[in-house]
């Protein structure tokens, strides 16, 4: 009887196992294998050892993409997370919460590629809204996305515009599910709004904050859609992220081995972030 029950459990596990093995572990294993080879698709892969990894960490273009990816991670922690928290606290104490939630959440319903196309037009020199406003103020025309000093920041702004609403809703849910007793007790003790926020609300919000931060870090480490649609990683590869470098090497230039090595680096960074955040969720001893 016990044995049948065990079989039962394994049988129910099988569909998920097939998916995980067939669609995740096998491709991941093959990617890791390819990352140690040189392969141009039309000939057989040739084993090259660590050559691709050495190239990844010595290539100025990939190091620049790594820098941009770090900027994306920091930028998305800075704007969509902190701003969402501040707005959630403000909205939590006003009427018409539904209206504000809808307004801020609306961009989340767009695909990132669509958001990228919209903002590409907004930033364009060809009758784009931003340049039209700047022109009407007599400030001239600015080639915003072609300026490698600022284009990454402008695109982080697009991401913030799109996903702040999601974080805001998550923080609102967190705020509304907080126990009232500690906050009431702090009020009775004469704590100010900021003291209550910093010493009571924020620590109680830790699980939601960690979830939002984990999402932000993991999603932006793999950032592809918005910079690809808006600049193709240019000009001159200046706004490339690691995900774009991987795509460019693998699918545009057919350097599958080198592209796979970049993919493995992205996966390792993402796993570190995910592991770090999962650890934070573990109950303390």
């Amino acid at each position: 009887m016990k044995r049948i029950k065990e079989l039962d459990a394994y049988a129910f596990l099988m569909p998920a196992l097939f998916f995980v093995i067939g669609a995740e572990l096998l491709p991941a294993g093959y990617t890791i294998y390819l990352s140690f080879t040189e392969w141009n698709i039309i000939t057989s892969p040739e084993w090259t050892g660590l050559a691709n990894y050495i190239q990844v960490f010595s290539s100025p273009q990939v190091l620049n993409a790594l820098k941009n990816t770090v900027l994306w991670v920091l930028g998305t922690l800075g704007f969509p997370v902190i701003l969402a928290l501040v707005l959630a606290v403000l909205i939590n104490s006003v009427k018409f919460q539904g209206f504000f939630k809808t307004i801020f959440y609306l961009p989340v319903t767009l695909a990132p590629t669509v958001a990228g196309v919209i903002w590409k037009v907004v930033y364009s020199t060809q009758n784009g809204a931003v340049n039209s406003i700047l022109q009407s103020m007599g400030l001239g025309t600015f080639q915003l996305l072609a300026n490698s000093s600022i284009n990454t920041f402008l695109m982080i702004g697009v991401w913030a515009w799109q996903f702040m609403g999601l974080n805001l809703v998550l923080f609102l849910v967190g705020l509304q599910s907080l126990p009232e007793e500690p906050i009431e007790a702090a009020k009775v003790d004469g704590a100010s709004f900021w003291q209550i926020f910093y010493h009571v609300t924020l620590p109680l919000l830790k699980p939601i904050t960690m979830l939002v931060i984990a999402n932000a870090m993991i999603n932006t480490t793999r950032m592809f859609a918005i910079p690809w649609v808006m600049t193709h990683g240019g000009p001159a590869r200046s706004s490339e992220t690691l995900a774009i470098s991987m795509y460019r090497e693998s699918f545009l230039l057919s350097n599958m081995g080198y592209g796979s090595a970049i993919a493995v680096v992205i996966a390792i960074i993402t796993l570190i972030f995910a592991w770090r955040n999962l650890k934070a969720f573990e109950p303390s001893a």
Partner: protein
């Protein structure tokens, strides 16, 4: 009860397993009517033209065409992947020169000598030689284009000007348009990384065509005096503010700018006429072309050429049908006529008469007559030198368009790439450490 649940779960698992693995191992072979020839290309904007050609061939020889358009980004990888399998495309568009050599060397494309023997008389002399590698003719032409400068006819009429015949005239006209607040040159970063080589190609070729050919063949260096002078010239044009905003694109923005008299020139292959016509511009009325005047004595008679080849996958199922379709494409009078009217203003065949070209576009007919005046033809940059150098250089040239003061670093970087690449092609190439003054 438990037994039933186990059986249900096992059946479900098998279904899922079957679905996953049939999807993974079947690939994504594109289905098409058996009687049609399947065809891959990377120009979604040209899809409707291929459909028209398929309708015409169906009517003429009972063999239709099933065109599939891919985005350029994934096109090369998709074709390469399919060529190694039984999913190999029957006909596909590719690039000639070094880009074709890779496929020919790997034995992935069919020998089309038979097609040329049947229908080669219809093709202008000199084209077959450019589509032959190590004695094997691997392609037929989709188009054969020359690299020219498109100009806004309205602007020239408005200011009572003629296209420039000397380099000095070109510079004077550029300065004139710039003073009028008109974008002088349409060559920008836009959305297409490849276009960044155009100005470099045009300036170097029309400055010294022999040196251009040497550089492309690995017989000269990216740090040589001729390249240095070309980059200084390019920088001076950028510094004067002659270029259109760098985020504008040649497919969407330049046609609109030509239409609104906001752009004077756009250097591009003669195939660009098809894109301008798609956007509602009329040849002769809205735009015309000229060949960039020689910048120095050594640049006289120079003209960049490009052939876009149609090839056949060696492992494809219907090679014979594909060859039959290509014979029709090369030699059928109606097909050639449709190509001229719909698409390519510069015929590469012996079927279309000069009078017919004059009717569709007098300016191109004039250019066709004058092509013999440019004996120093050279392959355009994209296909003229190994792809490893081209791919590196186009990214560096993008940097030139946005940060021209960094031109020295750009040349050093391309020189490094050339030194790394040429030995793989059996060319002795020692890196030059410094730029020549």
């Amino acid at each position: 009860m438990s037994k039933n649940r186990t059986i249900t779960a096992s059946v479900l698992s098998l279904i899922v397993f079957g679905l996953v693995f049939s999807f993974v191992f079947s690939g994504s072979k594109i289905s098409y009517a058996k009687e049609d020839v399947n065809f891959y290309h990377d120009n979604p904007e040209w899809q409707k033209r291929w459909v028209e050609f398929g309708d015409l061939s169906q009517k003429d020889i009972g063999l239709g065409l099933n065109p599939t358009a891919f985005k350029t980004g994934v096109y090369k990888s998709r074709v390469k992947t399919d060529l190694t399998s039984s999913r190999a495309p029957e006909i596909f568009k590719w690039w000639f020169g070094y880009r074709a050599k890779q496929l020919v060397d790997a034995g992935l494309v069919a020998d089309l000598s038979g097609v040329w023997e049947e229908a080669g008389d219809s093709v202008s002399p000199g084209i077959r030689e450019q589509l032959t590698i190590d004695g094997m003719t691997y392609a037929v032409p989709l188009h054969s284009s020359y690299w020219v400068w498109y100009y806004d006819v309205d602007l020239y009429e408005k200011y009572d000007m003629n296209p420039p015949e000397t380099w000095t005239e070109f510079l004077n006209q550029a300065e004139f348009f710039n003073e009028k607040g008109i974008n002088v040159i349409g060559n920008t970063v836009g959305q297409s990384r490849w276009t960044s080589f155009i100005i470099f190609q045009e300036l170097l070729l029309h400055k010294d065509h022999e040196f251009y050919k040497k550089l492309m063949a690995g017989e000269a260096h990216w740090t040589d005096k001729e390249v240095v002078e070309t980059m200084e010239l390019w920088k001076s044009l950028l510094d004067k503010g002659y270029f259109a905003p760098m985020d504008s694109t040649y497919v969407q923005d330049y046609p609109r700018m030509f239409k609104n008299d906001k752009l004077a020139f756009a250097p591009m292959g003669t195939w660009y006429s098809g894109i301008l016509m798609d956007r509602g511009l009329q040849p002769g009325k809205d735009y015309n072309v000229f060949v960039l005047p020689a910048i120095s004595e050594e640049g006289k008679g120079a003209l960049a050429t490009e052939i876009s080849p149609l090839m056949v996958g060696k492992k494809s199922d219907n090679k014979e049908k594909a060859k039959k379709w290509l014979e029709w494409w090369l030699s059928d009078k109606e097909a050639r006529k449709l190509d001229l009217e719909l698409w390519h203003p510069m015929p590469w065949d012996t079927i279309i008469s000069e009078e017919a070209v004059s009717k569709t576009n007098p300016e191109f007919a004039k250019l066709l007559k004058e092509v013999d005046n440019y004996p120093n033809k050279a392959i355009r940059f994209w296909e003229a030198t190994p792809t490893e150098i081209v791919n590196h250089a186009v990214a560096e040239f993008e940097r030139m368009l946005t940060s021209p003061k960094r031109w020295r670093n750009i040349l050093k970087s391309i020189e490094n790439q050339a030194a790394k690449t040429w030995p793989d092609y059996g060319v002795g190439y020692e890196k030059q450490p410094e730029l020549e003054n």
